[in-house]
Point group: C2
Chain length 312, copies 2
C-alpha cells in the first residue's frame, strides 16, 4: 500500500502504535505539539520540525536569512503551544556539495537572530551532504504546566492569539512570480516567509485549558482540540478577525477571506480555550458538549474542520 | 565559496562559531559526541544522527529493518561514548509519496527491536514528504559523569571496545554487487548493516578519562581525542585486534587489514583512555606528552590520523 493512501495522520497513527512507550517519566508521548518528560520534577518539552527544499520551501522564494528565522520560529511555536519557553536546540543540516558557504552563513544569521529573539541556544547537531537542502531542528523547552490539545472543557471560551490567513495569501503571492509586488503585497508575503512564534503569550497559555499552534489551518487544528478533548467547538463568524491586508488581498484577487482565515496554513498563531475571559488575543468562539468544529453565522451552523493541510 | 572546499569539520567550525552559547546550564556545547545540559542536577545528553537515502544508505543494499536498527544504534553509540544511557528519542521521517507502508513498517520494526535492546523510548517526532527517504533521530540520555574527548591524560592507556575495520569491508562487499556471497561474507556485511552500539561498556566508559565512538575510522577519531586533549597517542601495531573475518577478507581480496582497522568508518566501537588497566576491551596503546596519533611498529613511529572520513 502506498502511503499517500494513508495520509499524514493515518501514517502517524499507524507508526506510533508500533512504538509503545513504557517509561513512567514520560508525561506526554505522541499526539500533541510536544512530547513531555519529567526530569527531577521539571517538565521538559521536546519537539522537532524539518525544512526540506522543494517540500517546505523553494530556495528562490525565501531568503536564507528568513529560512533560518522560520526554522527556529516554527519550532518555538510548538513549545509555546504547550505552555513552555524554549531552552536548547540541536540542528541537523544536510546540503548539496555545490552550495556556497555564504548561503549557509546567511541561514545561520537568521537562526542566530531568532535565537536571540526567543532567548535560547542551539548547542549541537550534525552535518551531512544531500541533494536537497535540509534543516531539521530539535527543540527542547520547559514549563510548569503542560497545556495539551485534550484539555478543552464545556463552557470554555475559544481564543486566537492573532490574525490567520495571511501566510497562505503570502505564499500565493510568492507563487504568482510577479516581477513587481506592491509594498503591501511584500508585507503579506513576509507573514509567510518570516512568521513570529507567539512567545509573548506564554503566560496566557500556561493558564489555558488547551492550546494548539496553527500550522495546518485554524479549522483543521481546532479539529485536533475538538477530537482529543471530545468536545464541540463553535466559531462565531463575525468574531473571526480579518486582517486589513487580507481583506485587500481578497478584494484584489477575488477571494473569500474566510477560506484563508479558516484553512490557511503556517500562521503560527495560537488557538486556545480557557474558562475565563482574557485581555489578550481575539475571542472567537466557545466550547460545548458534543463533537465537531462549527462555524456559526447568525443562526446557521456549518461544520468546518475537515479541510486541514496534510504534509503527505 | 563552495562548502566542499571547507570540508565537514571546517564547515562545522565556522557554523558553531556563529552560534554563541550563553547559558550556564549548558555543560558541553558543540564539539563532542553529545551536548550536555544540567537539569536540576541531572546531566542530560543530546545528540542527533541522520540517515539519508543515497548518502548514508542505498535502499536496495540494506533491509528496512536493518536501516531502523542502524538509525537507533548509531545514535545510542554517541550517548554511550559520553558515558550515558539513552532515555528518550524523537524521530523526523520524510519519505516519497510512492513508498509503501510495508517498507516504513519494517523500518519501524527494526527501530522497535533496537529500542527494546537498548531500553529506551521514542516519544515524538514529525512526518513529511521528500524525494529521498530521510530518517533523522534526536536522542537524549543521562549520565552521572560526562566523558569527553578532551580528558585524555599523559600516562593513560588507550583501549578499544572491539574489532574495527569490518564495517568498511562489509560495505565494499555490498558494493561489489555479487550474485552470491559466501556465508562468512554475509557475516562481514552484517557488521556494516547491523552495527551494535556498545552499551555494555557504559560502566567502563563512566570511569574512563576520555572516549569517542568510532564512526569515521579509529585513527581519525583518536585524532579528535588527541587534539581536544592536547596529547600524543601511540598505537602499538601488534596489539591492534585483527578480526579473523577481516583477515579472511583481506587475504581473498588482496587488501591490507590495517587500512581497514585504522581508517574504516562506521565501526561504532568505543575508543577510550583510562589511567588504570581494564578487564574489558583491547589495550591498543598509550598516551604521552606531545601531539599527533602514531602507529608504533617495533621502534618505528608513523603518524596516522590524517585520513578520517568526512561526510562532506
Amino acid at each position: 500500500m502506498e502511503i499517500r493512501k494513508l495520509g499524514e495522520f493515518g501514517l502517524i497513527d499507524k507508526l506510533t502504535s508500533l512504538l509503545e512507550i513504557k517509561d513512567k517519566d514520560v508525561v506526554v508521548g505522541f499526539g500533541d505539539d510536544c512530547a513531555c518528560v519529567n526530569i527531577e520534577g521539571k517538565l521538559i518539552l521536546f519537539s522537532s520540525d524539518i525544512q526540506i527544499e522543494g517540500v517546505h520551501f523553494i530556495k528562490e522564494k525565501i531568503s536564507p536569512k528568513n529560512l533560518g528565522w522560520k526554522l527556529v520560529s516554527v519550532n518555538v511555536s510548538d513549545i509555546v503551544a504547550c505552555g513552555g519557553i524554549p531552552r536548547w536546540g540541536l540542528i541537523s543540516i544536510a546540503v548539496p556539495e555545490n552550495i556556497t558557504f555564504e548561503y549557509i552563513q546567511e541561514v545561520y544569521t537568521g537562526i542566530k537572530e531568532a535565537l536571540d529573539f526567543y532567548n535560547f541556544s542551539i548547542i549541537g547537531g550534525n552535518t551531512s551532504k544531500s541533494e536537497k537542502i535540509i534543516f531539521d531542528l530539535f527543540i527542547t523547552g520547559e514549563t510548569d504546566r503542560f497545556i495539551s490539545r485534550s484539555g478543552a472543557k464545556e463552557g470554555d471560551f475559544v481564543y486566537i492569539s492573532g490574525y490567520t490567513g495571511l501566510s497562505r495569501a503570502g505564499l500565493e503571492l510568492l507563487l504568482m512570480d510577479k516581477n513587481n509586488y506592491e509594498s503591501w503585497e511584500e508585507e503579506v508575503i513576509s507573514f509567510h516567509t518570516k512568521p513570529v512564534a507567539r512567545i509573548d503569550f506564554v503566560d496566557v497559555i500556561r493558564n489555558a485549558n488547551s492550546c494548539i499552534d496553527i500550522s495546518d489551518g485554524l479549522a483543521g487544528d481546532l479539529g485536533h482540540i475538538e477530537k482529543q478533548s471530545k468536545v464541540k467547538i463553535v466559531l462565531e463568524k463575525e468574531k473571526l478577525p480579518v486582517h486589513p491586508l487580507l481583506e485587500k488581498y481578497c478584494k484584489k484577487y477575488n477571494k473569500n477571506p474566510y477560506d484563508y482565515i479558516l484553512y490557511g496554513g503556517e500562521d503560527y498563531q495560537l488557538a486556545f480555550t480557557t474558562s475565563q475571559k482574557k485581555e489578550k488575543g481575539f475571542l472567537i468562539g466557545y466550547v460545548e458538549k458534543g463533537e465537531g468544529v462549527f462555524l456559526k453565522e447568525k443562526t446557521n451552523l456549518l461544520r468546518v474542520e475537515e479541510k486541514g493541510f496534510e504534509h503527505i
